[in-house]
Structure formats: structure tokens, C-alpha cells
């Protein structure tokens, strides 16, 4: 066991840190509006121009051939510098792994560089009104036509699709095959005829969801990813990374935990008559503080424990092992910890927690409430936690299917 990073890795960290500290924008608006989204895209283009957009990719596609350990280091530095979640993530973290595994050389050369450069933005088109946790219930279809396929049906709950240029997702190509068979993975431009994208608002009020309607929309044969009727396998290449390492590296939770500790210190000092309902004379105050303190330290510990779990996984990957159903353990861990962490912050804020970003007295611009509402999505997307628990029970513990 050796937990120190190599000199080269430490140099990589120093370089990333220096650039990020100097360049991370301080005043980005939320990404859930036309204007806000455009500002985030500009930031990601800047990130790409400096070579930090997709560090773990090959140089040919816009990366810098960083190792997985260096990628983790980059993520830590990225979030510690206060940089925002990536609006390109449904492309760079979800589609890209499937392209690397199943794409043709032509597809990689055509699709990956503009994805890395935040010039072509990708949305994910998996969920349908009748297919959420039960992904194999997908009923949108693709029918053979000259030189390609005609898509019909509807996708929904597609994050950022209103602002994206293209979508990747599953369509049923063989209606006679059993559920998981007969699906094909398509790469679909969203600006063609027969496609309508209708944005709608999420829990936090941001216009960040969309439903996408397909009415005989054409997609060419060169935009089929992987073999026809084998789309489930392609999708699983995505979920392995979506639930596990790539989408949720420990960096963002470590950074959030540090901000929570900072909030705790400030709360203690700014205090608080406002945050302690009628406890001054009753002796409740100390117990109340102890409860908050425990919640804060649990969140800090959870982020650290998740980092250790990830380092253990990375060590296995570096040794040539693959990530299987263990990614469900990661997903359960990070999604639950993110929620507890933000809940702890709201509890600390007490009556300040309900203030929206426009309230004059909002603490940290209302970021904790925003983060909490975002964290609430964690146990739902990327496979609900109920599905993940089934995966853990059946594939890791060996329990029988129900």
C-alpha cells in the first residue's frame, strides 16, 4: 500500500490547481436558463482551450492522456477551486465511454473533438413516460428506411436537452424481440425535421428538463452506435461509468464537505439568535448545537469515506480489473451522502434555509437550498436507488431474482 501520489501526479495537481485558481469564473449564473447556459458553455470552451476539458481522453480527441489517478486529482482540484458542475457531462461522461467502447473510428473522430470543445452539446435520451426505472420498457421505435432509420415516440426528463444539439439514446428496432433485445443505440441530431424539444422546469424551478418528440425523424446509418439490436449492451457501457466513477468523482463531495465545515464555523459566529428558536433560556441550545455538529461531521466523514472507496476502486482499475456491479455501491453511497450533506447545511441555516437566491438575506446566494434540491435527484437518476439495491442484492450478494 502506498497512498502518496507520484512526483508526476503532484506536478499535474500543481499545474491544474494553478490554472483553475486563476481561471474559474466567480460569478456564473445558474445554468438553467438560455443566458446562464450560454455562460457555462463559454466557461467549458475556455476549459477546453487550456486543455483541461477531458483530461483522461487521448490527445487526438482533445484530452491530455491523463491516467485515471490524474483524472481524480483533476476533479478534486476542479471542485475545490469552486468550478461548477459540467454542462457537457451527458456527452463527456456518459456518451463518450460508450463511444470509446463501441464507436467506429469515424464516429470517434467526428463526434468526440467537438464534444470535448463544448461546441456540440449532448443530451441523454433514455427515459420515456412509460420507461423510467424499467428502462427495458422503452417503446419509442426506429424503423428501417433508405440509408437510415425513422424515429417515432417520446423521450422525457432529458436534462438540458433544450440547450443541446444532439441526443444519444435507445430506440426499439425489433418489436418482436424480448424486452432487452431489439433495442438499438442512436446518435440523433436535435435540429432535424420531425423532432420537437419542449423544455420544462425542474423541482428547483430551473428550465433544465425537456421532453423530446419524434415524428418520423430521420437518423442516418452512420449514427447507429454499436450493433443494431444490441443497444442494451451499449447502454450498459454508459451506466457502468454513469453510476460509478466518471459522473461522480469524490472531488465534488470533498469540496462540498469543506464548504459545509466553513458554513458551520460561520454559523457558530454569525449566529444566531435567528437560527435557534427560543432555546436561549431553556438549555436546549447546547443539545441543539451538538445535533448539528454531529450531522456536519458525519457529512464530512461520508465524503472522506467515499473518497477512500473510490481510491480502492481506482487501484483495482489500474491493476486491470473492470468495474461491474460494484458501481451500484458507489452510486448508493454518493447519492445518499450528497443528500445528507445538504440536509445538514439546511439544518444549520435554520430559518435562513428557506430563503431563495433573490432574498436579500440569503446565505451564500441560496446555494445550499439549490444544492439540496439538486441532491434530491441523485437517488432517482442514473437508475433509482431501489434499482441499485436490487443490483447489489442480486449481483453482488447472489440473491435470487424476484
Amino acid at each position: 500500500m502506498e497512498l502518496a501520489f507520484s512526483a508526476a501526479e503532484e506536478a499535474f495537481r500543481a499545474e491544474a490547481r494553478a490554472w483553475l485558481r486563476a481561471n474559474v469564473p466567480r460569478d456564473l449564473p445558474p445554468s438553467g436558463s438560455e443566458r446562464g447556459f450560454a455562460a457555462h458553455v463559454v466557461w467549458e470552451q475556455q476549459l477546453h482551450a487550456a486543455g483541461w476539458s477531458v483530461v483522461a481522453w487521448p490527445r487526438a480527441f482533445g484530452g491530455r492522456d491523463a491516467s485515471i489517478v490524474e483524472w481524480l486529482i483533476f476533479e478534486e482540484e476542479y471542485y475545490l477551486a469552486g468550478a461548477p458542475p459540467r454542462v457537457t457531462q451527458n456527452g463527456i461522461f456518459l456518451l463518450a465511454p460508450a463511444l470509446f467502447e463501441y464507436g467506429t473510428d469515424e464516429q470517434r473522430a467526428r463526434i468526440l473533438p467537438p464534444m470535448a470543445a463544448a461546441e456540440v452539446l449532448w443530451a441523454q435520451g433514455w427515459s420515456e413516460p412509460g420507461a423510467g426505472s424499467d428502462l427495458a420498457a422503452i417503446s419509442s421505435t426506429a424503423t428501417r428506411t433508405d440509408g437510415g432509420w425513422l424515429l417515432r415516440g417520446q423521450k422525457t426528463w432529458s436534462t438540458r436537452a433544450s440547450y443541446c444539439h444532439a441526443m444519444h439514446g435507445l430506440f426499439r428496432t425489433d418489436p418482436s424481440a424480448p424486452r432487452h433485445k431489439g433495442l438499438t443505440y442512436f446518435l440523433v441530431p436535435l435540429d432535424g425535421p420531425g423532432i420537437r424539444v419542449n423544455g420544462f422546469r425542474r423541482l428547483d424551478g430551473d428550465l433544465d428538463f425537456a421532453e423530446i418528440f419524434f415524428d418520423d425523424a430521420f437518423v442516418s446509418d452512420r449514427d447507429v452506435l454499436g450493433p443494431v439490436d444490441q443497444g442494451w449492451k451499449v447502454a450498459m457501457a454508459t451506466t457502468g461509468s454513469e453510476r460509478g466513477l466518471t459522473l461522480r468523482s469524490p472531488g465534488r463531495f470533498l469540496a462540498a464537505a469543506e464548504r459545509l465545515v466553513d458554513l458551520y464555523r460561520r454559523t457558530v459566529s454569525f449566529d444566531s439568535a435567528a437560527a435557534r428558536p427560543r432555546s436561549g433560556r431553556t438549555g436546549v441550545a447546547d443539545a441543539y448545537d451538538r445535533g448539528h455538529r454531529d450531522a456536519v461531521i458525519r457529512a464530512w466523514m461520508d465524503a472522506r469515506a467515499y473518497q477512500l472507496l473510490t481510491l480502492q476502486t481506482v487501484t483495482r482499475l489500474v491493476a486491470g480489473q473492470t468495474l461491474g456491479a460494484e458501481s451500484s455501491v458507489s452510486k448508493l453511497a454518493w447519492s445518499e451522502l450528497d443528500l445528507r450533506l445538504h440536509q445538514a447545511a439546511l439544518d444549520l441555516l435554520g430559518p435562513m434555509a428557506e430563503l431563495g437566491p433573490d432574498a436579500p438575506s440569503a446565505v451564500d446566494g441560496g446555494a445550499w437550498q439549490k444544492g439540496f434540491q439538486f441532491a434530491l435527484a441523485g437517488p432517482i437518476y442514473a437508475g433509482t436507488n431501489e434499482i441499485q439495491k436490487n443490483v447489489v442484492a442480486e449481483r453482488l450478494l447472489g440473491l435470487p431474482k424476484d
Binding site: M1, E2, L3, A4, F5, S6, E9, V69, V261, D262, Y264, R265, R293, D294, V296, I297, R298, W300, M301, R304, A305, Y306, L308, L309, L311, Q312, V314, T315, R316, V318, A319, E326, V329, L332, A333, E386, Q388, K389, N390, V392, A393, E394, L396, L397, G398, L399, P400, K401, D402
Partner: protein, 341 residues
């Protein structure tokens, strides 16, 4: 960065698991429940012959000169087997404490015998009201006012305090500190005793991982076999989800324990935080596994004649020993929240 054990460490784990699988079946654990506190240890001679009992002793005393990283997986196995013998006190705490704190004469007198397993040494640190296995120890290391005392049984009065984990032979130890028993004083003793406590917390956490994994193994096997409503109860999501969460808790606790082993072995300055992470997560994971195991077993798990409770009770008592989860979280909070930003 390589967060994994060496092939040698994994091999040692394998042979210890094999030995304990053979020599420490549940029947042996039950026999220990019924045995008197001074009954000779049954598996000990074989663990000693394998070098495990003396593994932390310096080589010049016949030990292997190994550290916590080598010990972590061994302790996980002793937890898995619910070994009713004091490897934790003797090998994980007492031997390194003596080797690092006591003078040559004392080391010469005790460490060879301890490494060979001939003399069992147990430990009673401040804050722990009772001492495990004092009844078969040749020497009891006791903390008193920041001093370390080494007390032979003839200078103590033992009162048995039977634990709900019948394999743990606890006793209240009455003794009088005298200059002849004092083996270390001053700042050095204080630091050594703090380190001894952290070693105890780490070792307990490591054993708890094994205890929790065994509870899970027993339960997974059982729910696959037990049928109700015409199907295995393990096929119901209400059962699966409890077990999945218990599994996740163990998977998160285990790397924390390994991190603590590294912090101790490398003498890292923030070792206390790492040890507390390990003990807090391992305590909660094991107590949670015990709760889940019982619920998923149902009434059979509630039966004294069924083996499950041997591990459940070990989980409970070790979750509380060397600082429970709340104590360790409070210690981390003091370091993280009250320190300089």
C-alpha cells in the same frame, strides 16, 4: 498511489482464514462461552506456531516485526471466526506497547514469551472499566494517571464481570500502583498510551469488518434457503434492500479501516482522525449488519441455540469497545471543526 494490500498480506489472510475455518468453528466459540475464565486457549498455540501471535514483536524477540498493515486482514479473519482469544489485546496492543515503551530488561523478560505465545499479555486502558482475558494473562498492562504499569496476576484481585458475549472473559481488576509496577512515565508514556488506544480502536474496527461480513454471509445463505409464500425470502425486495444497504455500509467501512492501518503503520500525524473514521464506520456497519441479519433471519435468529447470536453479540460489544461511533465522530469533529481553518 496504490490502495491495496500486498500479495504477502493477502496470503497471510488466506492461511489464517484456513486455520480458523478448521480450528475455530462455531462449536469452538460456543465451547469458549462455557469455559472458565482461566481455561487454556485452544487455538492460540497454533496461531503462535504460525507466527501470528508474535507477528508485531521485533524479530530479535522471535517476532516477525510486522505492522498494522500486515495485521489488518488477520484481524478481519479473527472477527470473521469470532475467535474467542485475545489477539487484539496481546498482539495488536500489548506487544508493540512494550517494545516501544519499556526498557531492555523488561523487553527481554516478556517479549520472547509473548511472541511465542507462552505468556498472554492483556491491557486495561483508562476509560475501560474491565479487562478482557485477565484470568489467563501472565501480565496485565494498566494505565494509571498517564503512567503505564505492568502488573502480574499475583498483585491483582480479579472479579469476573460476565459479558453478554460469553466468549469475552471480562474482569474488574483491583490493584495498587507501586513503583515496581511502573514501567513508563511522563510525556513518552502518555503518547504511548494514546497510541495504544488508537491501536485498540483500529484492531477492534478491523475485527468488526470480519464480524459484519460473517453476519452477512450467514444471512445471505439463509434467505436463499428459507422459503415463505412459496419462494425464497431472499427474492423479496423488502429483504434484498436491507441486505444491500448493510453491504454498502460494510464496503464503505472497510477502506476506512485499511486507511487507519496505513496511518498507524506510517506514523502519520493525523492518525487519530483516520482511526476514528475506521472505528466509527466499522461500529455502525457491524451493528447495522447485526440488526439486519436478525431481522432477515426472523425467529430462528432469535434462538439461543442458533449460531447467529455469537456474532451479533460480538458486533455489539466491539461496536462499543475502544470508543463507540459517537465518541469517534466527536473526536473527528474536535479536530476538523474546532481546529484552525
Amino acid at each position: 498511489m496504490r490502495f491495496a494490500f500486498t500479495d504477502e498480506q493477502l496470503e497471510l489472510q488466506r492461511v489464517v482464514r484456513e486455520l480458523l475455518g478448521r480450528e475455530c468453528p462455531p462449536a469452538r466459540v460456543r465451547a469458549a462461552w462455557d469455559a472458565a475464565p482461566d481455561t487454556p486457549l485452544a487455538v492460540w498455540p497454533q496461531l503462535a506456531a504460525m507466527g501470528v501471535v508474535g507477528m508485531t514483536a521485533p524479530e530479535r524477540f522471535g517476532g516477525l516485526g510486522l505492522d498494522e498493515l500486515d495485521l489488518a486482514l488477520v484481524l478481519e479473519e479473527t472477527g470473521r471466526a469470532a475467535l474467542p482469544e485475545p489477539l487484539l489485546e496481546h498482539t495488536a496492543i500489548a506487544i508493540p506497547l512494550i517494545a516501544e515503551t519499556c526498557d531492555e530488561v523488561f523487553c527481554d523478560r516478556w517479549l520472547g514469551a509473548a511472541a511465542a505465545g507462552r505468556a498472554v499479555i492483556t491491557v486495561g486502558l483508562a476509560g475501560a472499566p474491565f479487562v478482557a482475558d485477565a484470568g489467563r494473562a501472565k501480565l496485565v498492562l494498566l494505565e494509571h494517571d498517564d503512567e503505564l504499569h505492568a502488573v502480574e496476576p499475583r498483585l491483582t484481585t480479579l472479579t469476573a464481570e460476565p459479558s453478554i458475549d460469553g466468549a469475552r472473559k471480562l474482569a474488574r481488576v483491583e490493584w495498587t500502583p507501586i513503583s515496581a509496577t511502573r514501567v513508563a512515565t511522563g510525556a513518552g508514556a502518555r503518547a504511548a498510551l494514546d497510541l495504544a488506544f488508537d491501536r485498540g480502536a483500529f484492531a477492534t474496527a478491523a475485527q468488526l469488518i470480519g464480524v459484519a461480513r460473517r453476519l452477512m454471509d450467514m444471512t445471505v445463505e439463509y434467505v436463499k434457503l428459507r422459503t415463505q409464500f412459496g419462494r425464497p425470502v431472499g427474492s423479496f425486495q423488502a429483504v434484498k434492500h436491507q441486505l444491500a444497504l448493510a453491504h454498502v455500509a460494510i464496503e464503505l467501512a472497510r477502506p476506512c479501516v485499511h486507511r487507519a492501518a496505513y496511518a498507524l503503520a506510517r506514523r502519520e500525524p493525523d492518525r487519530a482522525v483516520h482511526v476514528s473514521m475506521a472505528k466509527a464506520y466499522a461500529s455502525d456497519a457491524a451493528a447495522g449488519a447485526a440488526r439486519t441479519a436478525l431481522q432477515c433471519h426472523g425467529a430462528i435468529g432469535y434462538s439461543f441455540e442458533y449460531d447467529l447470536h455469537l456474532w451479533m453479540k460480538r458486533a455489539w460489544v466491539h461496536a462499543a469497545a475502544y470508543g463507540d461511533a459517537a465518541w469517534h465522530r466527536a473526536r473527528i469533529a474536535t479536530a476538523v471543526l474546532d481546529g484552525e481553518p
